[in-house]
Symmetry: C2
Subunit: 165 residues, 2 copies
Protein backbone atom coordinates (compact mmCIF):
# COMPACT_ATOMS: atom_id res chain seq x y z
CA UNK A 1 0.00 0.00 0.00
CA UNK A 2 1.50 3.32 -1.08
CA UNK A 3 1.13 6.78 0.41
CA UNK A 4 -1.63 7.64 -2.07
CA UNK A 5 -3.78 4.78 -0.71
CA UNK A 6 -3.72 6.21 2.83
CA UNK A 7 -6.19 8.65 4.32
CA UNK A 8 -4.60 12.06 3.81
CA UNK A 9 -6.10 13.34 7.07
CA UNK A 10 -4.94 10.52 9.42
CA UNK A 11 -1.46 11.99 9.45
CA UNK A 12 0.50 13.84 12.10
CA UNK A 13 1.32 16.56 9.57
CA UNK A 14 -2.31 17.14 8.63
CA UNK A 15 -3.42 17.13 12.28
CA UNK A 16 -0.71 19.54 13.38
CA UNK A 17 -1.43 21.85 10.44
CA UNK A 18 -5.11 21.94 11.44
CA UNK A 19 -3.84 23.82 14.50
CA UNK A 20 -0.78 25.75 13.36
CA UNK A 21 -0.89 25.55 9.56
CA UNK A 22 -1.56 29.21 9.00
CA UNK A 23 0.89 32.06 8.57
CA UNK A 24 -0.57 34.25 11.34
CA UNK A 25 -0.60 31.46 13.89
CA UNK A 26 3.11 30.72 13.44
CA UNK A 27 3.96 34.45 13.52
CA UNK A 28 1.98 34.81 16.76
CA UNK A 29 3.94 31.89 18.24
CA UNK A 30 7.21 33.47 17.07
CA UNK A 31 6.32 36.72 18.87
CA UNK A 32 5.12 34.96 22.04
CA UNK A 33 8.38 32.94 22.17
CA UNK A 34 10.21 36.27 21.87
CA UNK A 35 8.37 37.86 24.78
CA UNK A 36 5.65 39.78 22.89
CA UNK A 37 2.73 38.45 24.93
CA UNK A 38 0.06 41.11 25.27
CA UNK A 39 -2.83 41.48 22.85
CA UNK A 40 -2.12 45.15 22.01
CA UNK A 41 1.61 44.46 21.53
CA UNK A 42 0.95 41.47 19.28
CA UNK A 43 -1.60 43.42 17.26
CA UNK A 44 0.74 46.33 16.66
CA UNK A 45 3.88 44.31 16.03
CA UNK A 46 2.21 41.93 13.59
CA UNK A 47 -0.06 44.49 11.93
CA UNK A 48 -2.93 41.99 12.25
CA UNK A 49 -6.66 42.74 12.45
CA UNK A 50 -8.14 42.51 15.96
CA UNK A 51 -10.73 39.88 15.07
CA UNK A 52 -8.14 37.68 13.32
CA UNK A 53 -5.78 37.91 16.30
CA UNK A 54 -8.60 37.10 18.74
CA UNK A 55 -9.62 34.06 16.68
CA UNK A 56 -6.04 32.73 16.38
CA UNK A 57 -5.25 33.25 20.09
CA UNK A 58 -8.48 31.51 21.12
CA UNK A 59 -7.63 28.55 18.87
CA UNK A 60 -4.12 28.32 20.36
CA UNK A 61 -5.52 28.40 23.91
CA UNK A 62 -8.15 25.77 23.00
CA UNK A 63 -5.39 23.55 21.56
CA UNK A 64 -3.39 23.76 24.80
CA UNK A 65 -0.51 25.61 23.13
CA UNK A 66 -0.91 28.96 24.93
CA UNK A 67 -2.43 29.88 28.29
CA UNK A 68 -4.13 33.18 29.10
CA UNK A 69 -2.75 34.88 32.20
CA UNK A 70 -4.60 37.87 33.66
CA UNK A 71 -2.64 41.01 34.54
CA UNK A 72 -3.68 44.50 35.60
CA UNK A 73 -1.82 47.75 35.34
CA UNK A 74 -2.69 50.50 37.89
CA UNK A 75 -5.81 52.40 36.91
CA UNK A 76 -6.75 50.12 34.01
CA UNK A 77 -9.07 47.15 33.67
CA UNK A 78 -7.75 43.59 33.88
CA UNK A 79 -6.23 42.29 30.64
CA UNK A 80 -4.60 39.04 29.49
CA UNK A 81 -1.24 38.00 28.26
CA UNK A 82 -0.33 34.72 26.58
CA UNK A 83 2.34 32.24 27.58
CA UNK A 84 3.38 29.02 25.87
CA UNK A 85 2.54 25.74 27.64
CA UNK A 86 5.02 22.86 27.63
CA UNK A 87 3.51 21.46 24.43
CA UNK A 88 3.57 24.99 23.03
CA UNK A 89 7.27 25.29 23.84
CA UNK A 90 7.88 22.11 21.85
CA UNK A 91 6.70 23.90 18.69
CA UNK A 92 9.90 25.94 18.88
CA UNK A 93 11.54 23.13 16.91
CA UNK A 94 9.17 23.84 13.99
CA UNK A 95 10.14 27.53 14.06
CA UNK A 96 13.84 26.63 14.23
CA UNK A 97 13.64 24.59 11.03
CA UNK A 98 11.70 27.42 9.33
CA UNK A 99 14.33 29.96 10.44
CA UNK A 100 17.16 27.74 9.20
CA UNK A 101 15.56 27.39 5.76
CA UNK A 102 14.74 31.10 5.50
CA UNK A 103 18.21 32.15 6.65
CA UNK A 104 19.77 29.92 4.02
CA UNK A 105 17.52 30.75 1.08
CA UNK A 106 15.77 34.07 1.66
CA UNK A 107 18.19 36.34 3.55
CA UNK A 108 19.10 39.56 1.75
CA UNK A 109 22.62 40.96 1.39
CA UNK A 110 22.67 42.22 4.98
CA UNK A 111 22.58 38.64 6.28
CA UNK A 112 20.14 36.60 8.35
CA UNK A 113 17.60 38.69 10.27
CA UNK A 114 17.71 36.41 13.31
CA UNK A 115 20.22 34.39 15.27
CA UNK A 116 19.19 31.39 17.31
CA UNK A 117 21.56 31.07 20.23
CA UNK A 118 22.21 28.73 23.13
CA UNK A 119 21.58 30.92 26.18
CA UNK A 120 24.30 29.18 28.22
CA UNK A 121 27.19 29.65 25.78
CA UNK A 122 25.94 31.99 23.03
CA UNK A 123 26.75 29.59 20.17
CA UNK A 124 24.30 29.21 17.27
CA UNK A 125 21.71 26.45 17.61
CA UNK A 126 20.70 24.12 14.81
CA UNK A 127 18.65 20.95 14.45
CA UNK A 128 20.60 17.92 13.36
CA UNK A 129 18.80 14.92 11.87
CA UNK A 130 20.02 11.64 13.34
CA UNK A 131 18.54 8.16 13.48
CA UNK A 132 18.00 6.20 16.67
CA UNK A 133 20.90 3.95 15.67
CA UNK A 134 23.14 7.03 15.85
CA UNK A 135 23.76 7.66 12.14
CA UNK A 136 23.93 11.28 10.98
CA UNK A 137 21.50 11.95 8.11
CA UNK A 138 23.21 13.84 5.30
CA UNK A 139 20.36 14.39 2.85
CA UNK A 140 16.60 14.12 2.51
CA UNK A 141 17.05 11.17 0.19
CA UNK A 142 18.21 9.11 3.20
CA UNK A 143 14.83 9.54 4.88
CA UNK A 144 11.65 7.60 4.23
CA UNK A 145 8.21 8.60 5.54
CA UNK A 146 6.21 5.38 6.03
CA UNK A 147 2.74 4.51 7.32
CA UNK A 148 2.75 3.90 11.08
CA UNK A 149 0.27 1.98 13.28
CA UNK A 150 -2.22 4.90 13.19
CA UNK A 151 -2.39 5.13 9.37
CA UNK A 152 -5.80 4.52 7.76
CA UNK A 153 -6.66 3.53 4.20
CA UNK A 154 -8.14 6.32 2.09
CA UNK A 155 -11.97 6.12 2.10
CA UNK A 156 -12.46 5.73 -1.63
CA UNK A 157 -9.16 4.14 -2.52
CA UNK A 158 -10.66 1.15 -4.40
CA UNK A 159 -12.90 3.16 -6.73
CA UNK A 160 -10.14 5.71 -7.16
CA UNK A 161 -7.55 3.18 -8.17
CA UNK A 162 -9.93 1.54 -10.65
CA UNK A 163 -10.47 4.96 -12.26
CA UNK A 164 -6.70 5.28 -12.53
CA UNK A 165 -6.06 1.90 -14.15
CA UNK B 1 16.26 47.00 21.29
CA UNK B 2 13.67 44.28 21.92
CA UNK B 3 11.92 41.97 19.49
CA UNK B 4 8.87 44.25 19.44
CA UNK B 5 10.99 47.13 18.08
CA UNK B 6 12.04 45.10 15.02
CA UNK B 7 10.26 44.95 11.69
CA UNK B 8 8.01 41.89 11.91
CA UNK B 9 8.47 41.18 8.18
CA UNK B 10 12.30 41.29 8.01
CA UNK B 11 12.49 37.84 9.55
CA UNK B 12 13.36 34.44 8.13
CA UNK B 13 10.19 33.01 9.65
CA UNK B 14 7.94 35.63 8.03
CA UNK B 15 9.69 35.28 4.66
CA UNK B 16 9.52 31.48 4.68
CA UNK B 17 5.86 31.55 5.71
CA UNK B 18 5.09 33.87 2.78
CA UNK B 19 5.95 30.84 0.65
CA UNK B 20 4.95 27.79 2.69
CA UNK B 21 2.82 29.21 5.54
CA UNK B 22 -0.38 27.65 4.40
CA UNK B 23 -1.85 24.27 5.22
CA UNK B 24 -2.36 23.14 1.62
CA UNK B 25 1.17 24.04 0.58
CA UNK B 26 2.73 21.92 3.31
CA UNK B 27 0.35 19.03 2.58
CA UNK B 28 1.29 19.22 -1.12
CA UNK B 29 4.98 19.09 -0.14
CA UNK B 30 4.29 16.11 2.13
CA UNK B 31 2.66 14.23 -0.76
CA UNK B 32 5.38 15.16 -3.26
CA UNK B 33 8.07 13.95 -0.81
CA UNK B 34 6.09 10.72 -0.57
CA UNK B 35 6.00 10.18 -4.30
CA UNK B 36 2.54 11.61 -5.11
CA UNK B 37 3.70 13.89 -7.92
CA UNK B 38 1.02 14.14 -10.59
CA UNK B 39 -1.68 16.79 -10.58
CA UNK B 40 -4.60 14.34 -10.71
CA UNK B 41 -3.08 12.17 -7.96
CA UNK B 42 -2.44 15.18 -5.70
CA UNK B 43 -5.94 16.51 -6.29
CA UNK B 44 -7.59 13.21 -5.42
CA UNK B 45 -5.40 12.33 -2.45
CA UNK B 46 -5.68 15.77 -0.86
CA UNK B 47 -9.32 16.41 -1.77
CA UNK B 48 -8.31 19.91 -2.88
CA UNK B 49 -10.04 22.13 -5.46
CA UNK B 50 -8.33 22.24 -8.88
CA UNK B 51 -7.82 26.01 -8.87
CA UNK B 52 -6.34 25.99 -5.36
CA UNK B 53 -3.94 23.17 -6.28
CA UNK B 54 -2.91 24.96 -9.49
CA UNK B 55 -2.24 28.18 -7.58
CA UNK B 56 -0.18 26.46 -4.86
CA UNK B 57 1.87 24.41 -7.32
CA UNK B 58 2.62 27.50 -9.43
CA UNK B 59 3.76 29.37 -6.32
CA UNK B 60 6.02 26.46 -5.31
CA UNK B 61 7.55 26.32 -8.79
CA UNK B 62 8.03 30.13 -8.82
CA UNK B 63 9.76 29.90 -5.42
CA UNK B 64 12.18 27.28 -6.75
CA UNK B 65 10.88 24.58 -4.40
CA UNK B 66 9.35 22.28 -7.04
CA UNK B 67 10.11 21.78 -10.72
CA UNK B 68 7.58 20.77 -13.39
CA UNK B 69 8.64 17.75 -15.41
CA UNK B 70 6.66 16.84 -18.53
CA UNK B 71 5.56 13.25 -19.04
CA UNK B 72 3.28 11.59 -21.56
CA UNK B 73 1.40 8.33 -21.32
CA UNK B 74 0.58 6.52 -24.57
CA UNK B 75 -2.47 7.99 -26.29
CA UNK B 76 -2.84 10.96 -23.96
CA UNK B 77 -1.68 14.56 -24.10
CA UNK B 78 1.51 15.66 -22.35
CA UNK B 79 1.10 16.34 -18.64
CA UNK B 80 3.38 17.47 -15.80
CA UNK B 81 4.60 16.02 -12.58
CA UNK B 82 6.32 17.85 -9.78
CA UNK B 83 9.65 17.09 -8.16
CA UNK B 84 11.36 18.82 -5.25
CA UNK B 85 14.50 20.84 -6.04
CA UNK B 86 17.46 20.79 -3.66
CA UNK B 87 16.07 23.76 -1.72
CA UNK B 88 12.70 22.01 -1.75
CA UNK B 89 14.24 18.86 -0.28
CA UNK B 90 15.62 20.97 2.57
CA UNK B 91 12.05 21.75 3.67
CA UNK B 92 11.80 18.13 4.77
CA UNK B 93 13.26 19.25 8.10
CA UNK B 94 10.19 21.47 8.65
CA UNK B 95 7.89 18.52 7.99
CA UNK B 96 9.95 16.29 10.32
CA UNK B 97 9.47 18.69 13.24
CA UNK B 98 5.75 18.93 12.46
CA UNK B 99 5.47 15.12 12.36
CA UNK B 100 7.36 14.79 15.66
CA UNK B 101 5.03 17.27 17.40
CA UNK B 102 1.89 15.70 15.95
CA UNK B 103 3.01 12.16 16.79
CA UNK B 104 3.64 13.21 20.38
CA UNK B 105 0.52 15.27 20.98
CA UNK B 106 -2.17 14.37 18.45
CA UNK B 107 -1.86 10.63 17.76
CA UNK B 108 -4.95 8.58 18.61
CA UNK B 109 -4.96 5.27 20.51
CA UNK B 110 -3.74 3.34 17.46
CA UNK B 111 -0.40 5.18 17.56
CA UNK B 112 1.43 7.52 15.24
CA UNK B 113 0.14 7.50 11.64
CA UNK B 114 3.63 7.85 10.17
CA UNK B 115 7.13 6.61 10.82
CA UNK B 116 10.15 8.54 9.65
CA UNK B 117 12.94 6.08 8.96
CA UNK B 118 16.56 6.12 7.92
CA UNK B 119 16.56 4.29 4.57
CA UNK B 120 19.97 2.70 5.21
CA UNK B 121 19.21 1.08 8.59
CA UNK B 122 15.45 1.44 9.16
CA UNK B 123 15.81 3.22 12.53
CA UNK B 124 13.52 6.15 13.36
CA UNK B 125 14.83 9.60 12.47
CA UNK B 126 14.55 12.64 14.70
CA UNK B 127 15.94 16.17 14.76
CA UNK B 128 18.20 16.92 17.69
CA UNK B 129 18.88 20.53 18.69
CA UNK B 130 22.56 21.16 19.34
CA UNK B 131 24.67 24.29 19.49
CA UNK B 132 27.79 24.87 17.41
CA UNK B 133 29.85 24.43 20.58
CA UNK B 134 28.51 20.87 20.79
CA UNK B 135 26.07 21.21 23.72
CA UNK B 136 22.81 19.26 23.53
CA UNK B 137 19.80 21.54 24.03
CA UNK B 138 17.36 20.04 26.54
CA UNK B 139 14.51 22.56 26.51
CA UNK B 140 13.19 25.59 24.64
CA UNK B 141 14.17 27.78 27.58
CA UNK B 142 17.83 27.23 26.66
CA UNK B 143 17.31 28.90 23.27
CA UNK B 144 17.24 32.61 22.52
CA UNK B 145 16.07 34.09 19.20
CA UNK B 146 17.99 37.33 18.69
CA UNK B 147 18.18 40.00 15.98
CA UNK B 148 20.84 39.17 13.38
CA UNK B 149 22.63 41.42 10.87
CA UNK B 150 19.59 41.52 8.56
CA UNK B 151 17.13 42.71 11.26
CA UNK B 152 15.43 46.08 10.65
CA UNK B 153 13.75 48.45 13.14
CA UNK B 154 9.96 48.49 12.97
CA UNK B 155 8.76 51.39 10.80
CA UNK B 156 6.78 53.20 13.47
CA UNK B 157 8.68 52.01 16.52
CA UNK B 158 9.26 55.51 18.03
CA UNK B 159 5.63 56.65 17.95
CA UNK B 160 4.53 53.20 19.04
CA UNK B 161 6.76 53.09 22.09
CA UNK B 162 5.68 56.56 23.18
CA UNK B 163 2.06 55.43 22.99
CA UNK B 164 2.99 52.51 25.19
CA UNK B 165 4.79 54.49 27.92
Amino acid sequence: MGWIDLDSRACSIARTLEIVGDRWTLLILRDVFNGVRRFADLQRHLGIARNVLTQRLTALVDAGILVRIPYREPGTRSRHEYEPTDRGHELLSVLLTIIAWGDRHLADASGPPVHVRHTACGADVRLVPVCEAGHAIKSASEVLIEPGPGARPARRSSSVSSQMD
